[in-house]
Assembly symmetry: D2
Amino acid sequence: MAKVITTHLLESILAEVKPLIGQGRVADYIPALAAVSPYKLGIAISTVEGQHFCAGDASERFSIQSISKVLSLIVAMNHYPEDEIWQRVGKDPSGQPFNSLVQLELEQGKPRNPFINAGALVVCDMLQSRLSAPRQRMLEIVRQLSGAKDIGYDSVVARSEFEHSARNAAIAWLMKSFGNFNNDVSVVLQNYFHYCALQMSCVELARTFLFLADKGKARHLSEPVITPLQSRQVNALMATSGMYQSSGEFAWRVGLPAKSGVGGGIVAIVPHEMAIAVWSPELDSTGNSVAGVAALERLTQQPGHSVF
Amino acid sequence: MAKVITTHLLESILAEVKPLIGQGRVADYIPALAAVSPYKLGIAISTVEGQHFCAGDASERFSIQSISKVLSLIVAMNHYPEDEIWQRVGKDPSGQPFNSLVQLELEQGKPRNPFINAGALVVCDMLQSRLSAPRQRMLEIVRQLSGAKDIGYDSVVARSEFEHSARNAAIAWLMKSFGNFNNDVSVVLQNYFHYCALQMSCVELARTFLFLADKGKARHLSEPVITPLQSRQVNALMATSGMYQSSGEFAWRVGLPAKSGVGGGIVAIVPHEMAIAVWSPELDSTGNSVAGVAALERLTQQPGHSVF
Amino acid sequence: MAKVITTHLLESILAEVKPLIGQGRVADYIPALAAVSPYKLGIAISTVEGQHFCAGDASERFSIQSISKVLSLIVAMNHYPEDEIWQRVGKDPSGQPFNSLVQLELEQGKPRNPFINAGALVVCDMLQSRLSAPRQRMLEIVRQLSGAKDIGYDSVVARSEFEHSARNAAIAWLMKSFGNFNNDVSVVLQNYFHYCALQMSCVELARTFLFLADKGKARHLSEPVITPLQSRQVNALMATSGMYQSSGEFAWRVGLPAKSGVGGGIVAIVPHEMAIAVWSPELDSTGNSVAGVAALERLTQQPGHSVF
Amino acid sequence: MAKVITTHLLESILAEVKPLIGQGRVADYIPALAAVSPYKLGIAISTVEGQHFCAGDASERFSIQSISKVLSLIVAMNHYPEDEIWQRVGKDPSGQPFNSLVQLELEQGKPRNPFINAGALVVCDMLQSRLSAPRQRMLEIVRQLSGAKDIGYDSVVARSEFEHSARNAAIAWLMKSFGNFNNDVSVVLQNYFHYCALQMSCVELARTFLFLADKGKARHLSEPVITPLQSRQVNALMATSGMYQSSGEFAWRVGLPAKSGVGGGIVAIVPHEMAIAVWSPELDSTGNSVAGVAALERLTQQPGHSVF
C-alpha cells in the first residue's frame, strides 16, 4: 500500500464515512448487542514495520463475534494436521447465508468453509476434542498476540447467545447426524459463544492479526504463530469467504482478505504490510458493517492499494 | 513475485506436473473438445516489463471456452455504465455448479456473477443490444490485444456447442421470464458459443490479458483497455468467482485472480507483474485443468508469490 | 354422495359462496385472462345415471387452462404403453409451485407428475411424437366427450400465452438438456398453450369428465375412454396432485379427486357417482378458484360426501 | 369394497406377495429394528360391521414407528382447537424425504404436514405443553382402542432411537429457532421415540384404527374418538401425505388413505367399511413395506375397491 498511513489520514476517513451511520442496522438478535451505540466508530492499523495508528473509538472494546472464527481456525491449525481439518470442512465460498442448513444437508454435513457458522462449529468441536480448556487457551492466545493481558469474554453476551442458540444447535445436531460432530453439542456451543463474546478493541485486533500480514510471525513472539504458507492460505480463505455472502462484492470494492463480525468489527490484511481493524456497529443486510466497509474502501481506493 | 521467471523455470514446472496427466478427464460433452490430446501441456508468461516466456505447447491454439467470459465482460464495461451492468448481474460467488438453474430461480433471474454461464449470457445479451456485430467486435479486440491477426473462432466447436445448448437455452429462457434477457435467445447463444470457441494459444492469452496486470493498460495500445480501478475490480471478481465452484480452494492453493475454461486453459494474473496462461486439457470434477492448477501452484509456491 | 342433487341445491350453494368474490385475484399474467369478469360463477353436475344439473353461469365458456392437463394425459394413455409414460414423468406430489425448475434440475429432468407444467409439457412432447395433428385430435376428443361440436381454442389466449412463455420454454429446454424432451420446443409449446386455451363451459366440462366417475366409460360412446383401472389411477393422481401446491389442503376440505385451472375452473370427480365442474375466476395464492373450492367444500360438507 | 373379505382371501394374498421378500431392506439404522426377521408377514382387517379377519403373523407385535404419527395427531385434535394445530403445521404433501430440513428452513420452521418427522415433533411438542403424562396418555388410548391392555413401549427401541436422534434433534432445534417448538428438545424427543416404539400387532392396529373407517367412532366406546368431519380430514391427510415421498405412487396403486412405518407396518382405511393392517419388515427406498404395499394393492385391485 503505497499511500503513507498517518493518524490524520485515518481521522479524515472516519469523517468521510461518519455520514453513513443511519443507513444500517445494529444487530439486535440479542439484547447485549442491540444496546451498543450506533455512533461508535473506530479504526486502527498495525504495520509490519512496527508502527501503530488509530483514530476514533479505536481503544473501546466490542464483541468481536465472527472475527473469532479466524482465531479458532488458527488454534486448530496448531493442533491438527492439515488433512484432518480439511476432511471435515471445505475451503470454498458457500454462496448462502452464514447460518443456512440447506447446503449442509445437501452436502452431507460438511460445511463449505470455516468462516460460516457450521464450519466454525466443526472447528470448535475439534478444539474440544484436543484441548483440556479451550476457552482458557483462546484467552492466552489473544492476550499474547495483542499484548493486552486483560482481554476477556463478555459473559452477558455469551449467555445471551447461548439462550438464542437454537439455530446453531440445529446446525451442530445436523452435522452430528452425518458423523461430523463428536462432542456434546451444548458444551461446544458454550465455547463457540464465548469465542464470539471476546471483547477486543480495534487497536488490539490490529495487533493480534498482524501475523497474517507478516508471514505468520508475530513481531514480539519468538515462535511463529503459523507457517508462511499457512498465513497465505488463511488470507486466501478470508478473501473468498470472510465477508459472509458478500465476499465477492467486498473483494470488488476493497480487495483485501478480511473477516467481519456482527458486532460491527472488520479485520482486514494487507499482506506484507499491515493489519487493519475497523468498528462501526450498524450492519448491512448481509451482516457487514456499513461504515466499516466504506472506510476500508476509502483506504484502498486507488489502484495498487488492494491486493489486486 | 520475487522469483525471477526464466524459460528454464517454466520447463521444469511443466516436467513436474506432467505426471498428473491421467488423473483428470478431457471435456467430452462435445466431440470437438473430446478429440483434443490429453498430453498437451503449455505455459506462457508476459510481464509488465515487456518480457515474454513460454514452454511446452505454448504456441498451440485451443478452445478458450469460459476464459472468454472475462473478455465479454471487458467489452460490456466499455459499452455500458457500471450501474447498468451490475443491476443485471451480481459480483458474488455462486457456490453452485456453473450451469445451475436453482439459484437463478430463487434469485429472480439475476445471476450471481458474470463468470457463471447465466451471468455471461446476460453480458452477451447486453452486447447484442449495443453492438452491431458482436462477434466481429470480439475478434478485433483479441487480435488487437494479442497482436495475432489471425485469431478466429472454431466454427466446428461453436456449432457443436450450439447443438448441445439445451441447458444454456433453459438458463436464458428462465432469465427472460424474469425480464433479465432482452434479445432472441438463439441469436445470443450463437454469439456466446462463438466467444467460447475462440482459438488462442497460451502465448496469445498471456499477451491478451497482460492489461489486467498493468492497471488496465495494454503496453502496445495508446488507449487503456479499462481504467485502473476497473482492472482491479475484474481481478477481484476473478479471485472470488473465476474458478467455478472451487474458487476458494484455488485461492488457497494458488492465490491469484484467474479464470479457467473447460478446454483446459487457465489465465492467471499477478497484479502489477505479469499475466500467466497455462493449458492442459484434463479437468478435475469442478471443470478446472488438473495440471494447469498444479503448475500455477508451483509457480506461486513460496509465500509472497501469491497476492496473499 | 347420499345428498340428492337438485338445481335448487346448486343455486343455494352459489348464493352461499358468492360473498367470497373479492377475496381472490383474477389471473393477470396475460391480458386475455385478466379481462374476465370476477363475478362469473357457475356450477354443473353430470351423474352416472345420466342426470345433468347446473346453476349460475354454467353455460358460459371460459379458458380451461390446466384442466386440459388431465385430457392430454388421457390422450397419451391411449397412445402409449403405461411404462413409456411413467419412465418420463412421476406420480408423486411435487410440493413445489407448478412452474418451478428447482426440483426438475435436482431430479434430472423428470417431472414429479403430469399435472405440473413440466409434466404436462413432457406429455405434450409425447403426443407430438405420436400424433400427426395433436391439436385437431384434442378437439375431436373434447367434442366427442362433451357432445358440443363447436368447442374450440381461444386463439387470442393461446397466442398471448405463447408470448409469455419464457418460463415454460426454460422448463422444456431444461428437460431437453436431460434427454427428456424430443421435439421442437416451440412447436410443443404451441400445442400446450392451445390445450390450455380450450374454451369450455361448466356444463361441457361435467359431461366431458363423467367417464372418470364411471370406470373410464362415457355413457354415449361405445368404446371406453380408458380402462376402469386407468380411470381409478387418474382419479388417484388428481387427488394427490391435482390442485397445485394445496392438494393436501383441498383433500382435507373437499376430499375429492380434482383438477383446477388458472381460468378459475375446477373439475372434481365423485367416483361411481358424478363429475362436477365449477367456475369462478378469482384465485387464491396457490392458483385455485376461491369460490370454486368453497362451493365444492359445501357440496361435500357432511361426512360420507367425500371419498374419505 | 364389494369383494367379500375372508380369511382364505387374506391367506392367498399373503402367499402371492411372499415372493417379494428379498427385494427390500429391513430398516437398520438402529440395531433393534435391524434384528427383526425379514420373513415376518401378517395382515388383519376389522370391519365396521364388527368382523375381524387375519392371516400370517397378524398377532405378532412389532414397532409401529411412524404409524404412531396418526395417533399423536388424534390426541392433539382432542386437546387443541383446530386453528392452533394448523397454525403450527400444514396439511400439504412435502415432496421431500421425511427427515429433510431444507423445506423446513425455507418455510420458516412450519412443517408441511403432521406425518413427516418435523410435523410429528411439533405435535409432540403440543402434547407436552398440554398433558401431564403424554406417554401414559398414549398407552391408555391405544389400549382402549385396541382392547389390548398390555400394549406397551419397547424401551430398547426407544432408547436406541434416542441414541440416534441427531437428525430429529436438528429438526426440533431448527423449529425452535423459528419459534415453533416450545418445550425441552430432549424431553419431547423422548416422548416421540416412545410413541414410535409402541409394540402392536396387525390385529391390534386394525382394531385401533377402525374408528377412521367409522366416522370417528370406535364401536366399543361410548364417546366418539373424533368427529365424523375430523375422521374424514385425517383420512384425507393420510391419502395425500401418509406414505412418505411416494404418497402419489401409493394412491395410484392402492388408492386408500394409509400410514406406514419403518418397522414395516402399514395401516390403511376403507372409509365406511374397514381398517386394514399389514406387516412385512422389508422396505423400499422411500421407507414403505414392499410386500405390505403389494398386499394392499392386491386387496384393492379391481376398480371400485379403492376410494377412487
